[in-house]
Every structure is written in structure tokens, then in C-alpha cells.
């Protein structure tokens, strides 16, 4: 075989492997879609609408700014809520990691918050706040704050003492200690926390909008429910699902770039 032939066969192998990966990834989605489409043949459209109808409704939302702005509003609410919860959660986690007293005080409070159902926070927010955006921001922060705090606290507590001691032996300033040791050490857990909370937030935001908003995906879902429009309900739901999938893919990409230093074992778990 010549070098060119080797290169071609390498390219072929790479292409086949990439196709196999895409196929493996898509297979579960195709299977679910096929079951749904099959069901649509035997049930009325208000129960199982055809996926073709759902597709056109989906495209209709994306191409109509009046409707798509509702999707954007929901996405911004999720991101703002997560960012707020992350910042407050990170500060609380650092405080708890530094002070035993702060830990003993804050930990039960956060556990208590964790036990309060999302719907209760929605009710509290409606009573306490007048504006829609403060209400939804409050709900998003309160429902995702404990998870962020505990996940970041866990990451801080699991940091290698040996590595911290090594960095401390150079006598870094507090900012340098954070930049060179603490942030890189807790980054994997922060990204995992974002991934987990993203799914939770996308569920909570719909409930918050359903009850306490006059726009957004949750509000639109309420409209579809009132007219028994299953195709519309699915199309609006898919907007949110695609948003979550896109952000998850971005987070995975960041992980791949940021954690390329990790050794990869040839034998998987």
C-alpha cells in the first residue's frame, strides 16, 4: 500500500467511526420518535399528533419573532437565575469552607430550602414580589441555590490538601491562590453543577411561568393546554429541550478543552 492509500484508509476509518458515534447518539431519539409516530396513526391528534404537525409548529415558533421572543425570555430567565444562584452559592460555599460557624449555621438553612417544593417558592414569590421578572428570578435562585452551594462546598472540601499545601508554600496572595489552585481544582465540579442545575432550572422555570408570568414557554404551554393543542404543547416543550441540549453540548465542549490534561485509561469503567 502506498502512503496515499494509507491516508485514505485512515480517513475512511475515521469517517466510519464518526458516523457510528452520531448513529449511536441519535438512535434513542429516532426510536422514541418512531414510537410516537406509530401511536399517532391510532390515536386522535389531541392525544398523539403527527410529528410532521409538531415539526411545522416548531418551525412556526422559531420563524415568528412574536413567538420566539417568548423562548428567548425563558432562556434568559433560566440563565439569569442560574448565574444568580451560582454566584450566591459560590460565596456561601467559600464562607462555609472557611468558617466552621458559618458552615454550622448555613448548612441546615440550605437543607431546609432544599426541602421546600418549587411550587411553594412560586406561591411565596407571587405573594412577596409584584414584578414578573423579580418573581421568576427569586424562584430560580431559591430552587437551585442549595445544589450549587453544596456541590461547590463538596468540591472545596475534596481539594487535595497536599496540593493546597504545596501552593501555600510559595506564599501566594489570596487572589493568586484562587487563580492557580482553587478555581482549576473545583472547575470540574462547577461544570457538573451547571449541567445538573440546568435540567432542574428548565423544569422549574416552566412552573414559574405557568403560574406567575404573562409570557415565556411556561405561559405558552398553559395556552396550549387550555385549547387541548398537543402539537403546540410539544413544539413549545421542544424549544426548551433544544435549548438544554445546546447548553449541555457547550458545557461538554468546555469540559473537553479545559480537562484535556486528564489521563485517559484504555480500559473504561
Amino acid at each position: 500500500m502506498t502512503a496515499a492509500q494509507y491516508q485514505l484508509s485512515d480517513a475512511g476509518r475515521f469517517g466510519a467511526a464518526a458516523l457510528r458515534r452520531v448513529g449511536t447518539y441519535l438512535l434513542p431519539f429516532v426510536a422514541v420518535a418512531a414510537v410516537w409516530q406509530f401511536a399517532s396513526l391510532f390515536f386522535p391528534p389531541f392525544l398523539f399528533p403527527s410529528l410532521v404537525d409538531v415539526f411545522w409548529r416548531f418551525i412556526g415558533i422559531v420563524t415568528d419573532w412574536a413567538q420566539f421572543s417568548d423562548v428567548i425570555a425563558t432562556v434568559l430567565r433560566i440563565l439569569a437565575g442560574l448565574a444568580g444562584a451560582f454566584v450566591i452559592g459560590a460565596l456561601l460555599a467559600v464562607l462555609m469552607a472557611q468558617s466552621r460557624a458559618a458552615h454550622d449555621f448555613l448548612s441546615p438553612v440550605l437543607t431546609l430550602f432544599q426541602g421546600i417544593p418549587a411550587l411553594s417558592w412560586v406561591v411565596f414569590a407571587i405573594i412577596w414580589f409584584h414584578g414578573i421578572e423579580p418573581r421568576i428570578f427569586f424562584i430560580m435562585v431559591m430552587t437551585t441555590l442549595p445544589a450549587f452551594s453544596f456541590q461547590i462546598l463538596g468540591a472545596l472540601q475534596a481539594m487535595s490538601r497536599d496540593l493546597v499545601e504545596m501552593v501555600m508554600s510559595f506564599r501566594p496572595s489570596r487572589i493568586k491562590l484562587f487563580r492557580s489552585m482553587i478555581i482549576p481544582a473545583v472547575l470540574p465540579d462547577i461544570l457538573t453543577a451547571w449541567k445538573v442545575n440546568l435540567g432542574n432550572a428548565s423544569r422549574v422555570v416552566v412552573v414559574a411561568e405557568l403560574v406567575g408570568a404573562t409570557g415565556g414557554v411556561g405561559y405558552e404551554l398553559l395556552q396550549q393546554q387550555q385549547v387541548f393543542d398537543m402539537a403546540g404543547a410539544l413544539a413549545w416543550t421542544l424549544q426548551l429541550v433544544f435549548f438544554v441540549l445546546i447548553v449541555q453540548a457547550i458545557l461538554t465542549l468546555i469540559e473537553r478543552i479545559a480537562f484535556r490534561y486528564r489521563a485517559v485509561s484504555e480500559r473504561s469503567l
Binding site: L163, M166, Y261
Partner: protein
């Protein structure tokens, strides 16, 4: 004290004791007992003792990572625990295991201390490159720690300590985790570098051979840590005198 008192003492421990836990309670113990120890400038002190004799406690007190319960520790006339930041760039540590940051490449690990000293990126790169080359790691600058062997990783950690140009080096059994051949080769290189660069070094070990190879002076500790014997060594010491010292140390350690 067998070292020359007229020489400037860089490290001083005066009547230092360190205990852990509350006296009288279960688990409380005395790790260091009224220790007086001085280390002269450019001296290479091998601190030898059995496991659990308090070597690492002494090491942590000199490094300013822990404070004595009694007595006074001074380095360059200052308290390394209370004036922790004052020793930035003046003291470097080589640990028992390499303690490389896994998210940094070899050269980025060497640059760590220089970043903390706020050197420019050009200075950092040049200095780190020079020390990696000195320690035989040219071509491995961009390798992550997991891609390096144990010996190579420990070389990177030595380069990291030397790169800051600190006057005082504290070494906590840095070659004990390596195989004998690699350990011996690195030890020889290390002694050469310490001497060439005029460092003051405290080298903790539990190996008599290592102490004999490295030290200008060997202090053998009893438990709780206090000086059992303090032996000055000259580079020209004959094999016979080294053997005599070895059996003297073995006798003390066996007691």
C-alpha cells in the same frame, strides 16, 4: 551544637516543643520536645530519624505551616508562621511526592512560584525553561504530569523549587518514593545544584545512606524529636570515617 557558632545562623529553633491534642486526653502526644537547633548559611543539614519521630513537624514549623506550642522558631531572624508572607520567594520546598498540579504542563508547573512572585511571562518562561533543561527535561516542557514518569515528575518539582531562586530549601524525603537508581542519580544532581547555587538546605530523611550522601551535617533525632547526635561531615571524609558514623547512627536509632 556542633556547627560553628561564629557563622551566621539562618534557621534557629530555640527550646521548641510541639504537642498535638489536649494534654491528658486520649490521642494527645508530644511530637517535639524542647529542641534547640541552628542551621548555618549555605549549610546542608540532613535531619535523620525513624518514622514518627517528629521530623515532618520540625519541617512544617520551619516552613511556617504550623506554629510551635513552646519556644521560638526564626528564619533569617523572623517568625516564619506569623510573618508568613515575608518569606515569599525566600523559601522553597521539595516535598516527598512531586505534588505537581495536574492541570498544568511541566513548564507551567515550574512557573507557579514565579507567577506568585509576579515575574513577567517572558522571565517566567525563560527561567522555567532553563531549570527544566538543567534537570534534563528538554522536550518535555508541554507534557502534562500524567505523561511523565515518577523520576521526571520529581525533577519538575525540583525545578519548581529552584526556579524561584529562594535562599532556603526545605526537602521532605524528596527521593524516597523513587527507585534506588533514579533516587541516587537525582540526589547527586540535587546536591550539586544546592552547592553551586549557594543554598541553605534542610533535608529530611529516614535513610542513613541518603543522609551520608547529602549532608554537611547530620542531626539524628530521638522520639519525641530532640537531638540524639549531631555530626558534622566534611566532603573529604574517608570511607572508614563514614562507616564509623553509620554504625554510630545505627546504634542511636536502635536504642
Amino acid at each position: 551544637m556542633t556547627s560553628n557558632d561564629s557563622t551566621e545562623m539562618v534557621i534557629r529553633l530555640d527550646g521548641v516543643s510541639k504537642s498535638f491534642g489536649k494534654p491528658g486526653l486520649a490521642g494527645a502526644y508530644l511530637a517535639v520536645d524542647k529542641l534547640d537547633l541552628q542551621v548555618a548559611q549555605r549549610q546542608m543539614l540532613a535531619l535523620l530519624g525513624k518514622t514518627g519521630c517528629g521530623k515532618s513537624t520540625i519541617f512544617n514549623m520551619i516552613a511556617g505551616l504550623t506554629e510551635p506550642t513552646e519556644g521560638r522558631v526564626t528564619v533569617d531572624g523572623r517568625n516564619p508562621f506569623r510573618e508568613f508572607d515575608a518569606f515569599r520567594g525566600r523559601m522553597a520546598i521539595v516535598f516527598q511526592n512531586d505534588r505537581l498540579l495536574p492541570w498544568r504542563t511541566a513548564i507551567q508547573n515550574v512557573e507557579l512560584g514565579l507567577e506568585i512572585l509576579e515575574k513577567t511571562s517572558e522571565e517566567r518562561r525563560a527561567m522555567a525553561q532553563r531549570w527544566l533543561e538543567t534537570l534534563g527535561l528538554r522536550g518535555h516542557e508541554d507534557d502534562y504530569p500524567h505523561a511523565l514518569s515518577g523520576g521526571m515528575r520529581q525533577r519538575v518539582s525540583i525545578a519548581r523549587a529552584f526556579a524561584t531562586n529562594a535562599n532556603i530549601l526545605l526537602c521532605d524525603e524528596p527521593f524516597s518514593a523513587l527507585d534506588e537508581m533514579t533516587g541516587r542519580r537525582l540526589r547527586t544532581e540535587f546536591v550539586k545544584l544546592v552547592k553551586e547555587n549557594g543554598k541553605t538546605a534542610v533535608f529530611i530523611t529516614h535513610s542513613i545512606n541518603e543522609a551520608l550522601e547529602i549532608g554537611d551535617r547530620i542531626v539524628v533525632l530521638k522520639r519525641p524529636a530532640n537531638i540524639a547526635i549531631d555530626i558534622p561531615l566534611t566532603p573529604a571524609a574517608s570511607q572508614e570515617s563514614k562507616e564509623a558514623i553509620r554504625s554510630q547512627i545505627q546504634h542511636v536509632l536502635a536504642a
